[in-house]
Amino acid sequence: MRNRSLLILSAVVTTGALTLTACGSRDDDKGSGDSGGKTTVVIGVDAPLTGSLSPLGQGIKNSVDLAVRTANKENVVPGVEFKIESYDDQAVPASGQANAQKLVGDKEVLGVVGPLNSGVAQSMQGDFAKANLTQVSPANTNPALSQGDNWAKNEKKRPFPTYFRTTTTDVIQGKFAAQYLYNDAKKRKVFVVDDKQTYGAGLAAIFAEEFKRLGGTVVGTDHVTVKETDFSSTADKVKSKGADSVYFGGQHPEGGLLSDQVKKVGAKVPTMGGDALYDPAYISASGESNDGDISTSVGFPIEKLDTAKKFISDYAAQNYKDPYGAYGGYAYDGAWAIVQAVKNVVTENGGKVPSDARAKVTEAMGKVTFSGVTGQVGFDEFGDTTNKQLTVNTVTAGKWKDVKSSTFED
């Protein structure tokens, strides 16, 4: 309750402050550098900060906040004070687009970290591209976002030059999952379920294709509706088709319930899913008998990376209410990539933020490369990360435990 009112208060104060600085910044642009004070550069955040995906969204927001604090403390870009401005998209595409327009409207925003959901990203990309504003998603994995709608036919075309991401795509993730389930877990008959959303349906289709290519059988498919909770009829079909495993393309609220209900109807088979299931909330949603459920996650577990030690201890030191979650490291790296791009642009411009800063930052983003929390960060010609490391996790005694980490090979 106190947090909530604090949140409202700080939101009111920051919006007030932002409007004031926005009013003032026009004068600054004309006579820039006159005051000797620092120029403000805002890094926007868009993520679901409320609703069932809020633990992940809060982790993203906090990690960007940490990156901004670190950049200011270490004075990474002399003469520039970074600030964070966060918006809640509630995992709803329309809210995401409204937020994108707000972020575009604020001239001090030079980069945005977010969103969490691929479907939300679709609704935001166009607005950012029109404004030449860089966007780095720490979590989107749908291939079409960076490689165009015809990516599957090998006609890759980058639709929006402003879109970047620090996670790998579902093409890699889906194939990796199929290879694990077939080669390592030795499953042959899978039942594929998705939630009809951009992320889930895309991932499930890629998985199914690779699983069939390897020689496995897809014994049945079904779809569920987001925010519904009764999947017992689907669970019965899993049982009656004799599947030895379930693959779920979707988010953890539905995935957890599906796994629980599959086991309750008496089918003792594991449920596997993508990085969206890799969250502690999945385990609480999937009841008691979720041991052996599998998820893939993007990158190596950051707790085991030497590069992430400082991030983890810094994050702990800030006493954020929510953990950094599955995407915190990627959000930090995304924000840091923006900081680096701003730094390059400012250095080139003789220590000042140029008037066409947004276009320059977008251009600089493609060339950014540094050693980040999640490993070497860099972007290819589509804006996708060059990092193709993935991890398989299973639920063991009520916790996600990583069982295999490797770099994807086709």
């Binding site: 009809k196 999947f231 009841g287």
Partner: protein
């Protein structure tokens, strides 16, 4: 194996849950012709009330002992909110055009969701709810009845029976029927119609709390948004069964639940219909059924044609 018995059991359990919630829509509509769209949220609050009681009970309390306490706790919460809503949101609008209370109900539903979201500890995420432990009942090889489903299948008819006896036999119940038939005449006969209306709201809320406990025990979690879709489905069930008729609400719920689970299982088996089956289409088929029923019987399955007194 034969899938049918299992799918029927699923449909019945889901339908019984819809029916329990639908009672609230139908009772209120029967008496004041108001569609209380905030009823889904009353259901949700019942769930959180029950969870509060469960957390307050000493750890290790047997679930069988806890459940009655949870139902009572949930009912206290939901009845309190429902009667307060009636008193402060709906009663001032009693003489207003019908759209006014309808919009109020929608607004109230958003307010209640946000209140729980803001003030209930950790309610921004799904809260876990106690679940039955132990094996499901294995009735035949083709039919495994989960404990939570068995619970709702026993509880729902029991509640209906009690409500049926109450409405037809008790003094208050008969006063309720009289008010539903003609509120003005009922008032002239000395019936305190305000009290009857409050009672309708309270009974609906208590049923919603029972449904919320059953729901929580089944899914193992509750969240602040859960009332929206279930409320919508229950409202559909009430219309399907004939809004204003308490038995109709239960019949409508069961028909809707069966339609959903059978359409998931069997539509895709029909040659050429594979694309139109499965969980993605279950709501479509449920509403196709609703439209067909309303075309043939505009008053719903058990509804009576009543003179419009708008």
């Amino acid at each position: 194996m034969n899938e049918l018995p299992q799918q029927l059991a699923n449909g019945l359990a889901l339908g019984a849950l819809y029916g329990l919630i639908a009672i609230g829509y139908t009772m209120v509509y029967g008496i004041v012709q108001l569609i209380n769209f905030a009823h889904g949220e009353i259901f949700m609050i019942g769930g959180f009330g029950a969870l509060t009681i469960y957390l307050w009970l000493p750890g290790g309390t047997s679930l069988l002992l806890a459940i009655p306490a949870m139902i009572v706790g949930g009912a206290i919460a939901s009845v309190a909110v429902a009667t307060a809503a009636e008193r402060f949101a709906y009663r001032p609008l009693r003489g207003a055009p019908r759209l006014a209370p309808l919009i109020t109900a929608i607004g109230l539903s958003i307010v209640l969701q946000q209140l729980v979201w803001s003030f209930y500890p950790d309610a921004t995420k799904a809260r876990s709810f106690p679940e039955f432990t132990g094996e499901s009942f294995r009735i035949t090889d083709d039919l495994i009845l989960q404990r939570a489903d068995a619970f709702v299948l026993v509880l729902a008819p029991l509640c209906m029976l009690i409500l049926g006896v109450f409405v037809s036999k008790s003094r208050s119940g008969r006063a309720m029927q009289a008010t539903a038939q003609d509120p003005d005449t009922a008032k002239l006969m000395g019936i305190n119609t305000d009290r009857i209306i409050v009672m309708a709201f309270a009974i609906g809320a208590a049923f919603a709390a029972v449904a919320a406990v059953a729901y929580g025990l089944d899914k193992g979690q509750i969240n602040f948004e859960m009332g929206f879709i279930l409320g919508l489905k229950a409202f559909t069930a009430a219309v399907l069964g004939g809004i204003g008729n308490i038995y109709g609400a239960m019949v409508g719920g069961v028909v809707l639940g069966l339609a959903e689970s059978l359409s998931i299982a069997y539509i895709e088996e029909i040659p050429g219909m594979q694309q139109l089956g499965g969980g993605a289409w279950s709501n479509v088929w449920a509403f196709v059924l609703l439209i067909v029923v309303l075309l043939v019987r505009p008053q719903g399955l058990l509804g009576e044609r009543v003179a419009d007194r708008a």
